[in-house]
Symmetry: C2
Subunit: 486 residues, 2 copies
């Protein structure tokens, strides 16, 4: 499917650009079911690599995978009162099954705390059975009115970690450990820097005691909540009877945490690195890191360059590079270049008859810094030898560029609501201010600006000079970060 129309430029309409690029890079498509998307092979290949990397990190921190039911009795969801308030409006409900009306309606899981902790209650008897450290890769459903591919769909794919601990302290450590796993993953794999911190009570997960978040800045300077880690206290263990006998022989309620990231991360990748040509996939996530395009005009040239292309694929595979050869005969090289640039492959190798004779290749980089050459003419052996390092370097450059952009649009020391408004309605970005902790101030800012308190940043992200005044007037008790959010 050739599709040569240019994308709407980001500067003209970022939202239109996003919708177009996601479909035209063949990451995903709309389905006939309102609010549900189809993840196409290129998009799923990226998600698979995210899954693999996260899964390895979860296992390295002592977690195992398990699988719990898709359907949850309505009465379970209703048991934790903040939880039901948060999720009830978004539920999809199964009322009939096997040709009969069900006695009790079942909901498609919007998240699995209730069903999972009901099982832990069955499995855990003693402090010796703790901690329980499980993760589940699953689909979940939250009925949404306005949907956008990857960012907000009724059904999405995610992982949800659910743990049970003997003490509050251990649960808090776990909550922060997984927040740190997320931050590391987002930076090292998606090349997407994040600000981590604590959510205000108004913004925390329905049923949590504390929610920690990773907030990433997209190119339109809006915040994307990219992952959250919740300390659930004993809220769920009390409702589901998740108790254990302590070392001292007392019956106690366990302490729970839950943490999740979803296919939304693919949208975050797109909005962090994409340009007006297409998406850009960080090398560590790219299903193909290099595409080899043989170039020929005459049939007698074909065999030589196509043969060389496959030979290079093998040599690069041997040094650990993921390569595709695009040897389709019905497309000209220009159409292939355009397609793979749109799909964000980090490097392209071109080989024509003259290159063949000189044993050289043309290496083209998907994104370059100002003044950097896009094309390099390299001896074959050098290209093969250098590509692993060039891919690593490219991964690092993407992270640095995203970090520099975020810093350029971070506004610190903002004192007044007017100034906050001016920034967020103008250039946008992350705005750091003081806060008294008063929820009314938070509510007022949200009502007047449509912006939300994204988090109370962790020490790494706080301003050197702590703010003295609250954005709503009076004394500041903590620094907070505001942004318009997805």
């Amino acid at each position: 499917m050739a599709d040569d129309k240019a994308l709407t430029p980001r500067a003209e309409d970022f939202s239109a650009w996003y919708n177009e690029v996601v479909q035209r890079a063949e990451l995903a498509d709309h389905s006939p079911v309102r609010g549900s998307m189809v993840i196409r092979p290129w998009g799923f290949g990226i998600w698979e690599r995210m899954q693999r990397a996260l899964d390895d990190m979860f296992k390295a921190t002592g977690h195992e995978n398990a699988y719990f039911p898709l359907l949850i009795p309505m009465s379970f969801i209703e048991r934790e009162k903040e939880h039901v308030k948060g999720f009830k409006p978004e539920l999809a409900v199964v009322t009939h099954a096997g040709g009969k009306e069900l006695e009790e309606p079942l909901v498609i899981r919007p998240t699995s705390e209730t069903i999972i902790y009901s099982m832990y209650a069955k499995w855990v008897q003693s402090y010796r059975d703790l901690p329980v450290l499980l993760n589940q890769w699953a689909n979940v459903m939250r009925w949404e009115l306005r949907t956008r591919l990857f960012l907000r769909t009724s059904e999405f794919l995610w992982q949800e970690g659910h743990t049970a601990h003997a003490t509050d302290t251990e649960a808090q450590e776990e909550t922060l450990r997984m927040l740190d796993v997320y931050r590391t993953f987002m930076e090292e794999w998606i090349a997407m820097p994040v600000v981590t911190g604590l959510k205000s009570d108004a913004e925390k997960f329905a049923g949590a005691v504390r929610t920690y978040t990773c907030e990433a800045m997209m190119q339109d300077r809006r915040a994307l909540q990219a992952g959250t880690s919740h300390h659930l206290g004993q809220n769920f263990s009390r409702q589901f009877g998740l108790t254990f006998q302590s070392e001292e022989g007392r019956e106690e309620y366990a302490w729970n945490t839950s943490w999740g990231v979803s296919t939304r991360l693919v949208g975050g990748m797109v909005m962090t690195h994409g340009d007006d040509t297409g998406i850009v996939v960080p090398p560590r996530l790219a299903p193909a890191q290099v595409v080899v395009v043989p170039i020929y005009r005459k049939e007698e040239e074909r065999e030589g360059v196509v043969g060389k292309a496959h030979e290079l694929r093998e040599r690069l595979t041997d040094v650990g590079v993921r390569v595709r050869v695009d040897d389709r005969d019905h497309l000209n090289p220009g159409a292939k270049f355009y397609e793979w640039e749109r799909k964000g492959v980090p490097f392209r190798l071109e080989i024509g008859p003259r290159d063949l004779a000189k044993e050289q290749v043309v290496l083209v980089k998907r994104v370059t810094a100002k003044g950097e050459d896009r094309k390099a003419f390299l001896p074959e052996a050098q290209a093969v030898a250098e590509l692993p390092d060039r891919l690593d370097a490219f991964q690092g450059e993407l992270l640095e560029a995203a970090r520099a952009r975020r810093e350029a649009h971070s506004h610190r020391g903002v004192q007044s609501l007017d100034e906050l408004k001016e920034i967020l309605e103008g250039p946008g970005g992350f705005v750091y201010t003081g806060w008294s902790g008063d929820p009314e101030v938070e509510e007022r800012v949200k009502a007047e600006t449509k912006d939300t308190l994204r988090c109370i940043p962790d020490p790494d992200f706080r301003s050197e000079t702590p703010p003295s005044r609250c954005i709503g007037g009076g004394e500041s008790r903590m620094e907070v970060m505001w942004a318009r959010a997805y």
Copy 2:
């Protein structure tokens, strides 16, 4: 959770044994939602290894993964008339979502042909877009009245491959290619030999032109349908407008195939290899292939043997063996032996203070042939060096034992319905007979014996002398295999 009660012996009540062993090996548990199970970490670890192996084989045969919606409009399911007849009685239906009644009910996918081919119709224009070779890992729902963990649950996990081709011939080749992938996987990974062949029209998939199957014999001599591969012809492409322009410029309907295996395979593994002590996990699927149990009585012995256990774990990990050290202090060695035998770990390494002094270990094999020693006293270095080969050998022995058992209970040359009944109501097994191809004969056998025509076996599995008489009388046109099935 110590659980020392012996299992019901298989010979006494195979079905009770199965239900007990699945739960007590901590593979899975019943959930509060009728018909849905929870897959616990030990069971999920086995499933993960099955997934990884199959996924690699799918990719090696040119397939990519994608993801399609969980919910399907009721009208889609109703479009293919055999399909709806097969699946409608088992559907779970979402009638309300987001607090409102839906205009059209949505069903939770029982299988995804309809939604997937509706998308292919959008993506495919020309013969150049073919073949489309996609696979999806997903949960599906078929409302069942009588459920059994892994074997028959309302929700289960599976993969479903869906392909589109330009010609009938290519689709037929794909159908057989994937049948062969399944057979290879089941033999090489699950050590579960299968008979492959064609289903009769009465037993084929609802909507298929031809269904091929893998039939495995369980220890109670019943057949387990372990995987199927369907040639769908143009049945779905016609209903969903999946057309393409051929090389000659004609508009044509594509040819489809679909193929799937599910978490049922875990049940197949249990019923193929388990014994009265517990399950037996083939080494290639085992989350832990070796468990190291340090043995000590006095506190001063502890440090040495536990240290050695971890050292051995590292050395074995270096040679590619998956190892766990069971250094829990509150369980005695006997309880640990029992737990890991129940969970089917292929080998156990015991290390006590005397072994430490002699630099030797005690290696205990989970299943031995008649006359083979269970225990081997080996120098440490030798145990480490030999374990990879011993694991390979164990894998092979499991397959051979299962194959020998199947052959011992395969009855060929059976001529009369009385004889067939006698076998299947007595010792059981796979019974090969002639068949005229008349569906009335098939129906009569099923009604009188509760046994079903499992398949028309592929050449590899046919009797040396083809049967001349049909089991229902008259001339035979083909050899068929009958069994009582799960």
